[in-house]
Symmetry: C2
Subunit: 224 residues, 2 copies
Amino acid sequence: MGAPKYQKIKQDLMEEIKDASVNTPIASERELAGRYNASRMTVRNAINELVEEGVLYRDKNKGTFVADQRLMKKNTSAETLNKPMDDTYDYNVIYFSSCFCDEKIAACLEIESEDWMIRIVRLNRKNGKPVSVEEIYLIQSLINDNDYNNLNKLLDLKGYIDEGSVTQKFLPIIVPVKYINLLHVKLNTPIIMVESTIVSKSGSPVVYIREFNNPTEKIIEITT
Amino acid sequence: MGAPKYQKIKQDLMEEIKDASVNTPIASERELAGRYNASRMTVRNAINELVEEGVLYRDKNKGTFVADQRLMKKNTSAETLNKPMDDTYDYNVIYFSSCFCDEKIAACLEIESEDWMIRIVRLNRKNGKPVSVEEIYLIQSLINDNDYNNLNKLLDLKGYIDEGSVTQKFLPIIVPVKYINLLHVKLNTPIIMVESTIVSKSGSPVVYIREFNNPTEKIIEITT
DNA sequence: AAGTGGTCTAGACCACACT
DNA sequence: GTGTGGTCTAGACCACTTA
C-alpha cells in the first residue's frame, strides 16, 4: 500500500501553510477529519508531528496555529546533516582515502585501530564563501561496494539519523593553521569545532565528523 | 480530576526502567494496556512521550526497548535551562540590578531602550569549579512584585520553556578579560559564548541569556 | 451555547519478525 | 502461527474559551 493517510494529511497541511503568516489558525481537528474522511485521531497524528517539528503550535481550547518559521527546530549544526542543500550551497571534496584508523578516531567509532575507515575532507561553501571544513569518518566495513564508488551517496548521511541519534560536542579552539587558507580566516582566530557522532538505535557509532566552522560566514544556531 | 492516565503510566514506566540496562525490552503495548486497564492508544501516548524524549526506542515488529541513557536528549547548553540541579552544582549571584536596556539587549528582547530590565550575573560551579558565567536579562514588566524579591524563582526559567522555545547561538570568542579571574582561565583562551533567547509560543522574547563557558570544566554537548 | 484541543475507549486490519 | 508495533475508526466526556 501507499503512504499512511496521516502522512498525506501532513503533507497537505504543510503545503497549505507554507505561505501562511505566523499565528494563522488552521482548520480544527474535527473539520480536517471530515475533509479527509478520517477519524480525529488520524488527524491528530498528522498535527502532532508538525507540532513536534515546530511547524505548528497548539493553544488549548483555542485552536492550532502556524508557528514562527524563524523558530523552526534546528537540531544540528553540521552541513552534512542538514536539510537538502539549496543552490546557494556547494562543496569540494579535498581529500578522500581509505586507511587505518588512528587511535583517536578508532575510539570515537568504537572500532580497533587496525580496522579500515574512509576519510573524506570537504570544504563547504555558501554563496561561494567558505563556511566550514568537514572531516568525515566512516567505518569501511559498513559501506557496500556500490556506495563506495558513489561519493554523493556516501555524503548523504541523513538516512542514518532517522534510525539513530546524533551527539554533538562544541569545542572552542584556535583555527588549525592547515585550514587557515581554506576557510579564509586569520591566524589565531577563535573558532568552534563541532564533533558529531551518529549512533544507531542500538548505540553503536556509525559516523564521526569533525567540523571546523568559519565564524565570519556561519553562526551556529539551534532552536528547540 | 487528577493527572491523566497516560501520565501515570509514563511515570510508572520511568520508575520501572530506571535501573534497567540498555536494549532491555519493556512489556508490549497490549500487555501494558491490560495491566493498567487502559486502551492501547492510551499506552501508546505514554510510550510516545518517552520515545520522543529519548528514553525508549521502538523497533517495528519487535518491541520497545530501553535506550542508551548516554544518548538521552539534551537540547540546551545553559545551566539555567537544565534539569533540576543536583548537589554538585551551586552558584553565586555576582550582580543584580534593575536598569534601562542598552541597545543591544533591547534589540534581543524586542523592547525599547527606555524600558526597564533586570540584569543578573551569576557564576555557576560544579564540584566547586567554575563552569560558566551567565548574564541573564529579564523584562521587568513581565515580572510580578512577589517574584522580584525571590531570586530563586527568577532564576527558575524552566517554566518558560515548556510554553515556548529556545534559540541558541554559539559564538567563538576570546575570553573577556573581566571574566578571566571568575572562570579561572588564562588570557587569550578561546571560549564559546552561548546566546540564548527564550520566546513565548506567540514569538515574543521573554528572556535573553549570555553564557561564557569555561572550556576546561565544561564541554557543551547536545544529543538529538 | 457552540467550538476547541486533551484524553480515552474497544475494537480493527496490516506488514513484518520470530519460531 | 503468534506476537509486535503502525495505522485507523467512530464514537465519547472533559475543561476551557469565546461569543
